[in-house]
């Protein structure tokens, strides 16, 4: 080529070629979701049934029963009256400002997402801690999951499963699961070599080492990961509402489009209240379950 425009403009691909690539990929994925969408959807059916049941259960329970149950849970985990009173006050306010049902919906989806994240994340974290190859394979995937804008991976999920609860749960889990995986891996890798060696010397096999030494000693770190996962799941509530997840996110979304400042603020505050309660309860539980860390000579 005789003209030297490549010196000033980046030599980019032909627009036509790019279009072909896009069309091919989009077409292929659309084809895939048409032929397998129903199948994949049916795989997630039990999850949907459970989600619906759990939400209905929370909505059908009387408000006072839920407040009592939550404050009892908070007290048993933290032994702190202050937090208990905080739970009662914030939930009373949530109810009084007419956000009770949405809060229950959000709580149901957050609890399910957290539970699934833990159930998937801890085994993945353990596998990473055991093998450097698994670690070097999983780490970049986690990086992508954490940095890829949520809207981008919402597209294929929605194409495949439509809008509704299940794609919402999947989107939240993709966003929220990395901390529990990372910190499980880290926690196990940081377990004192001497202690692990002692266990090996006494003839402990792999599962005795895992359950008897590695997991208990990694627990504070894993709990920090679970805590982060809960917080990130709550942060996803508004984005998840864009694909039809009901709850506190939807009024927020409505406020953005209609510039309802007060409505947005109230629902936002309700999310914050949930976050603070979950955070304090899970952290206090983590501390209380690690009695041995409260050292003190001959205390």
């Amino acid at each position: 080529m005789s003209d030297a425009s490549w010196l000033t403009d980046f030599p980019q691909m032909d627009r036509a070629d790019l279009l072909t690539i896009r069309k091919t990929l989009d077409g292929a994925y659309r084809e895939f979701s048409r032929s397998y969408g129903d199948l994949i959807e049916s795989v997630f059916d039990p999850l949907l049934v459970f989600l619906v049941w759990f939400e209905k259960f929370l909505l059908a329970s009387p408000w006072w029963a839920i407040i009592i149950a939550l404050s009892a849970l908070a007290f048993s985990a933290t032994r702190s009256w202050k937090l208990c009173i905080g739970v009662v006050i914030s939930f009373s306010l949530i109810g009084y400002f007419g956000m009770w049902d949405n809060t229950m919906r959000t709580m149901s989806i957050i609890l399910v997402c957290t539970f699934l994240s833990i159930a998937l994340g801890i085994p993945i974290g353990i596998a990473m801690a055991r093998s450097n190859r698994v670690q070097s394979f999983v780490t970049p995937i986690l990086d992508v999951m954490q940095t890829m804008p949520a809207f981008v991976y919402l597209i294929p999920v929605v194409m495949l499963l439509g809008i509704g609860k299940v794609p919402g749960v999947i989107a939240v889990i993709i966003y929220a699961i990395p901390p529990v995986i990372r910190l499980t891996n880290l926690g196990i890798r940081l377990v004192d070599e001497d202690v692990l060696e002692a266990a090996t010397a006494y003839g402990a096999n792999a599962s005795q080492r895992l359950w008897g030494v590695q997991l208990p000693l990694a627990m504070p770190t894993i709990m920090a990961g679970i805590n982060q996962t809960i917080m990130m799941a709550l942060a996803m509530v508004v984005i998840a509402s864009m694909i039809g997840v009901k709850g506190l996110g939807q009024p927020v979304l409505k406020s953005i489009t209609n510039q309802y400042f007060t409505l947005g603020l109230l629902n936002g505050l309700a999310i914050v209240a949930l976050a603070i309660i979950f955070d304090r309860v899970s952290q206090a539980y983590a501390v209380r379950s690690q009695r041995h860390l409260k050292g003190g000579h001959n205390a």
């Binding site: 010397a201 208990p216 000579h297």
Partner: protein, 395 residues
């Protein structure tokens, strides 16, 4: 000698990416530094051969980097050798499958660690019973047994504390109780007392010796402290740069160091505390066997000494000086030797530590008689032989 309980033959350990490839160079006799420079591999242990008898305390001694901690980890295969054989009680440990190795570790050996290796999330009693838990023993049974051992090491009342609540010495007692609780025949102690302060350390050494008198375990004890090695060891092996430089009984090491390295080590040892009378005494030169004063004096004149040890069929009787015989001579020539002519001197036991008999030895002009428990004269200990042995330690 009976078959050894543990036998290590031709053990090599090379650390690095492909240890097998440098084995030829190691065997050719290239030094550690040359191999490190040539191939980036570190020679950890080189041609180790040793036999350990049942019931002895076998001390492996060396400075840091000598490979002693690497060596002890071969006994239960926490580290696998690059080459070599390891027999324990007739079993080739290298041939064990992973499952068999776990069983072997559970039943045959237990280990005490320099930095204790206690489980911080378990209480003291749970830690002591850990080995039994791994074996699948029921909680009640293992707690009962753990309780016994906890009392033996003097930690009654600490059952429900966590390790972080105990002092270093107490933590290591828990480590010791945990090791004893599995009833394993062999006890591996990796610098078990090195992290403790001197007073506690010597207390723990006493306790170990006391326990060993009752239990007769086979103990492999790693240390960098020669005093500790001499105090505990029935046999001592000295490691330097991954090679065994000398192996023998404590007094052999002390009195006949094989290399300059061992000699440099031995130099600073307090010999008076490490050696017993037996190891430095000489044969008793002047035994008097005659029964009367006259014939005793005649006998004494023959060996040209001015003293003698009177021995009859009942064993050692006493020390006699020429002087006192001559004083008694004219009138008592035919009288039997009796307590009147004996010197007022205590005999010493062959098992005494030199330190304890220094004053007596210095107070008398003639060598002290060494007499065993049966009352037989074993030898003599003179000021000069004491001086020779103790003096050499400073030069």
């Amino acid at each position: 000698m009976p078959d050894p309980l543990i036998s290590i033959q031709g053990l090599y350990k090379v650390f690095g990416k492909a240890p097998k490839t440098v084995m030829a160079a190691v065997k050719e006799g290239k030094t550690k530094d040359e191999i490190l420079a040539d191939s980036g591999h570190t020679v950890g242990l080189k041609d180790i051969n040793l036999d350990i008898q049942k019931g002895e305390i076998y001390v492996i001694m060396g400075l840091s980097g000598s490979g002693k901690s690497t060596l002890i980890r071969h006994f239960n295969r926490l580290i696998d050798p690059t080459e070599g054989r390891l027999m324990v009680d007739g079993v080739d440990v290298m041939s064990l499958s992973p499952d068999e190795l776990e069983t072997f570790r559970r039943n045959k050996m237990s280990m005490v660690f320099q930095r204790f290796g206690l489980m911080p999330h378990r209480t003291v009693i749970e830690n002591v019973g850990y080995g039994l838990g791994i074996q699948g023993v029921e909680k009640n049974d293992r707690d009962a047994k753990a309780q016994e051992w906890l009392e033996t090491v003097g930690l009654k009342g600490y059952e429900n504390q966590y390790p972080s609540q105990l002092s270093g010495g107490q933590q290591q007692r828990v480590g010791l109780a945990r090791a004893l609780c599995t009833d394993a025949e062999i006890l591996l102690m990796d610098e078990a007392f090195s992290a403790l302060d001197p007073l506690i350390r010597s207390e723990m050494q006493d306790q170990l010796i006391e326990l060993q008198e009752k239990l007769h375990k086979t103990i492999i004890f790693i240390t960098h402290d020669l005093d500790e090695a001499l105090r505990l060891g029935d046999r001592i092996a000295i490691l330097k740069d991954g090679e065994l430089v000398q192996e023998g009984a404590p007094e052999e090491i002390l009195l006949a160091p094989a290399t300059d390295y061992v000699e440099a080590f031995v130099k600073d040892v307090n010999r008076a505390r490490a050696l017993t009378v037996e190891t430095v005494m000489k044969p008793a030169a002047y035994r008097i066997t005659a029964d009367t004063i006259g014939s005793a004096l005649e006998q004494m004149k023959k060996f040209k000494g001015d003293y003698g040890y009177y021995v009859n069929d009942d064993g050692y009787q006493g020390v006699i000086l020429q002087e006192s015989l001559e004083d008694a001579m004219p009138k008592d020539a035919n009288n039997a030797l009796c307590e009147k002519v004996y010197e007022d001197v205590e005999s010493i036991s062959p098992d005494s530590v030199l330190e304890t008999i220094i004053p007596e030895t210095l107070d008398t002009d003639y060598p002290l008689p060494v007499v065993n428990e049966e009352g037989d004269l074993q030898g003599q200990l003179s000021r000069s032989s004491l001086g020779e042995v103790l003096g050499a330690s400073n030069g």
